[in-house]
């Protein structure tokens, strides 16, 4: 069901003006780390080497916390695992090129395996971000205890020291750490700005909406944790070699918390800020902790509180923000896509019953919807209409009876898997991505159709014509680069509707799609829905209170009353029935 855009590949853009500045900064950084050893004393070199390794760690915390919204205290565990893997190999197996290679591989693979396990525990089943944070507290504690319990093998509380390390010299370790930091920072910077990187922010903003766009949110989160576990492990390898000592503290949650302080002070959600925070605080700490060992911790504490209160954006707040926002992407039209029209029902519900304890919400529901049909569901408030849509789109809801989509049972399938069967759902209260722009939301709605790039941000978004119609008639096309948080209630409704249609689902589930819109906007949206169903063969199930609107767009109405489907028939017969009259006697929406 994927369409191919006929237009030529859109011009893509990797760099903005802001980006050129950062490239210059990166080159300057590179020059500094390569030439630094010529004018820095040995103590400063050693301290800064460590600081730069810590800065890599701060960036991993920033990606998890600042971008993906996962507050983690556990990055130290992966760092410690990498460092200890290295130190253990070098202590017990000995030096030599092949052992260094073995240590490098293990310091990558072990932490990744550990991180994948932690990620799976944290995200595998509808868990909350808080749950992930708690697990991230536990893992470093367990690992530290294991190190303590390891006796002479792990060096217990005194750690491991005196093992052979790579003979690079302080100057070259400084250069190596610097280059690794700059490369990792640049890579992170490119990825978080790419279309794929925006997925992380989308999942943070609204995991439910992301799942209903077909994004496998848990998998993305687990992959991110695994990859960053690997980076932490490599940082641990560097640390164990450059520092020539590993101690249990580096795997502990105290160190994990320190990384959070660096990230917060530097500026969460920016790549540069946390790196600056880590280097600044660690370097200052090394300089000052000798002179005032106790006072220094107090200063850091006060600084932290002051920054949180007065500079919530951290050190990065000193960097002027780019004016004028992101460049406005162009919109392109996809050719009209005809859905398959076979006579078999697309949606088939039989004997559906849903209850919460003794409270029965839906009972004995049978319904078939064919391609090209637009079925309106009406009924009084509290009749179970929204619950009905949820049971059609989330197979993990416990129900009796069966829901078949194109002949496949949805039982047990989470929303993203039901979406993959060709279902799109619009919620009653608009569910969009608050911190993103309108264009980014639309782009995300297409991720399952067009794989997002890890490197670039598309300058052109191609959307089905029906979506372009919705955007232009609600005025959203003039607000593409505006953040969703500034949109009015009705505009959010329209944006979510546009996102759902952009997915080109075979079955569109709409919960009061025109709530909060003016009469004129309703009429125009109604025409778009008619075109989608009658002309293009989409199927739609629509919850609506406005009988005039229902009459305008649909031929078939079902009535849901006290959890039962009491009527199913052509519009006029249903609308003129006594039951519907009694429910709807009142003011029609004008």
């Amino acid at each position: 069901m994927t369409d191919q855009a006929q237009s030529t590949p859109a011009p893509q853009q990797l760099l903005t003006r802001h980006g050129t500045g950062l490239i210059a900064l990166g080159v300057l950084g590179l020059v500094l780390v390569l030439l630094g050893p010529l004018f820095l004393d040995r103590f400063t070199l050693n301290v800064l080497t460590r600081s730069m390794i810590y800065a890599m760690m701060a960036i991993t915390v920033d990606l998890l916390w600042g971008y993906a919204g996962i507050l983690t205290f556990g990055q130290s565990a992966f760092f410690g695992a990498g460092a200890y893997a290295t130190a253990l190999i070098l202590t017990h197996v000995g030096g030599g090129a092949q052992n260094f290679a073995l240590a490098l591989v293990l310091s990558l693979v072990l932490p990744m395996g550990l991180a994948a396990l932690v990620g799976w525990l944290s995200f595998y089943h509808k868990s909350t971000p808080l749950y992930a944070s708690v697990i991230s507290l536990v893992v470093p504690i367990v690992l530290t205890q294991a190190i303590f319990a390891g006796g002479s093998f792990t060096g217990s509380s005194s750690g491991l020291v005196g093992y052979p390390t790579m003979k690079l010299g302080a100057a070259n370790y400084f250069r190596l750490a610097g280059v690794a930091l700059i490369l990792f920072a640049a890579l992170s910077w490119v990825i978080v700005r790419s279309d794929a990187g925006r997925l992380l922010v989308a999942i943070r903003d609204n995991p439910l909406r992301a799942a209903y766009l077909g994004i496998r949110t848990q998998r993305v989160q687990i992959l991110l944790m695994t990859a960053l576990g690997g980076v932490a492990g490599i940082a641990g390898f560097l640390y164990a070699n450059a520092g020539r000592i590993v101690a249990p503290e580096i795997a502990g949650f105290g160190f994990g918390t320190q990384m959070i302080v660096w990230t917060a002070l530097g500026g969460r959600g920016t790549i540069l800020g946390p790196a600056m925070g880590a280097i600044g605080i660690d370097y200052l700490g090394a300089q000052l902790s000798g002179a005032m060992p106790y006072l220094w911790q107090l200063i850091i504490g006060i600084l932290f509180v002051v920054m949180i209160l007065f500079m919530p954006r951290g050190l990065a707040g000193f960097i002027p923000r780019r004016r004028g926002g992101a460049p406005v992407p162009q919109l392109g039209a996809l050719p009209d896509h005809m859905q398959q029209r076979d006579s078999a029902p697309l949606l088939s519900v039989s004997g559906m019953r849903k209850s919460y304890g003794d409270f029965v919400v839906l009972d004995g529901i049978d319904l078939e919807v064919r391609p090209g049909e637009l079925v309106s569901v009406v009924g009084p408030n509290g009749a179970g209409k929204t619950t009905f849509l949820r049971c059609l789109s989330d197979g993990t809801e416990t129900i009796e009876g069966r829901v078949l989509l194109s002949g496949q049972d949805i039982a047990g399938r989470p929303p993203e898997a039901v979406v993959a069967l060709g279902v799109g759902r619009k919620f009653q209260v608009a569910s969009v991505f608050e911190t993103m722009t309108v264009a980014e939301c639309l782009r995300l709605a297409r991720v399952t159709q067009e794989r997002p790039s890890l490197w670039r941000r598309a300058a052109r978004i191609t959307l089905p014509r029906a979506v372009l119609d919705i955007l232009s008639l609600t005025g959203l096309d003039g607000k593409l680069s505006e953040p969703v948080s500034g949109l009015s209630h009705g505009m959010r409704q329209s944006l979510e509707l546009a996102m759902v249609v952009a997915m080109q689902p075979r079955l569109i589930l709409l919960d009061e799609p025109t709530a909060g819109l003016t009469k004129a906007e309703r009429t125009l949206i109604g025409e778009v829905l008619i075109r989608l169903t009658r002309d293009l063969g989409y199927a739609a199930v629509l919850i609506e209170h406005d009988l005039d609107f229902v009459r305008q767009i649909s031929k078939r109405i079902v009535v849901l009353h006290q959890g039962r489907l009491v009527m199913d028939g052509p519009v006029d017969a249903v609308v003129n029935s006594d039951l519907v009259r009694s429910i709807y006697s009142g003011v029609a929406h004008d």
Binding site: N381, G382, G475, G486, S585, G586
Partner: protein, 234 residues
């Protein structure tokens, strides 16, 4: 005492660098229901939020009974007879209906009286006081929002799109409840609405907002519908 319950003059407010309200001038008489309409994104909700002290005023004045109140916090306004039924997610979804109502009261001893008030307009809520609010349907939540705002017997009630997602017969009940409040206690109501029929039916006067300003207004009469529709057309 002035005749006006609420007087807004040259009101400017907004978010970030953007001024959404660009000099709103509007007066609401004591005991009057005013329907404020307009297309999406014109600033209707922002006006209510600014009046309620949730967004800072950047210019102009707001007077309640002739007293300037711009800059007063929401708690002060609530304590001084302003009620607010917001549009989005104002209910505590994990609390019971009873607790959602209790939270709006200063003292628990006021609860019986408040419940009596609720029973006049939406008696079904009383049968379900211990039900978790999150299990109410969208339309039922709207009724709870309005009940909670009305039971404190405010002198000025700000209502944001209360008819959205509510079945027509209940919309009619809401209209009746608002008019009853007006007749019984002389409450002044600023009603932001998309449902034109409901709004013009219940209100004494209408006003239309466009790009942060009031551009037209008048008494509600037969011809108003077409005038407002012209303003709302695309």
């Amino acid at each position: 005492m002035t005749e006006n319950k609420l007087t807004i003059d040259g009101l400017v407010s907004g978010y970030g660098a953007l001024d959404i309200l660009q000099g709103v001038v509007l007066a609401l008489k004591r005991g009057e229901i005013l329907a404020l309409m307009g297309r999406n994104g014109m600033g209707k909700t922002t006006l209510l939020k600014t009046l309620m002290g949730l967004i800072r005023t950047r210019g102009g004045t707001i007077a309640l009974d002739g007293r300037p109140v711009a800059g007063k916090p929401p708690s002060w306004l609530l304590a001084n007879g302003v009620g607010y039924a917001p549009q989005e997610l104002p209910l505590f979804q994990d609390l019971s209906i009873r607790d959602n109502l209790r939270l709006a009261l200063r003292h628990d001893r006021d609860l019986p009286r408040a419940l009596e008030h609720v029973s006049c307009s939406f008696p079904f809520l009383l049968d379900r006081l211990d039900q978790k609010t999150g299990t109410l349907s969208g339309g039922e939540q709207k009724m709870l929002i309005l009940s909670r705002a009305m039971m404190c017997e405010p002198d000025l009630l700000l209502i944001d799109e209360i008819s959205e997602g509510v079945q027509p017969s209940v919309v009619q009940r809401i209209a009746a409840a608002l008019r009853a409040e007006q007749e019984r206690r002389g409450v002044s109501i600023l009603l932001v609405e998309q449902n034109l029929a409901f709004a013009l039916d219940v209100a004494d006067r209408w006003a239309v907002m466009k790009l942060g300003r009031i551009v037209d207004g008048g008494a509600c009469e037969a011809a108003s519908r077409q005038t407002v529709l012209n303003h709302l057309s695309i």
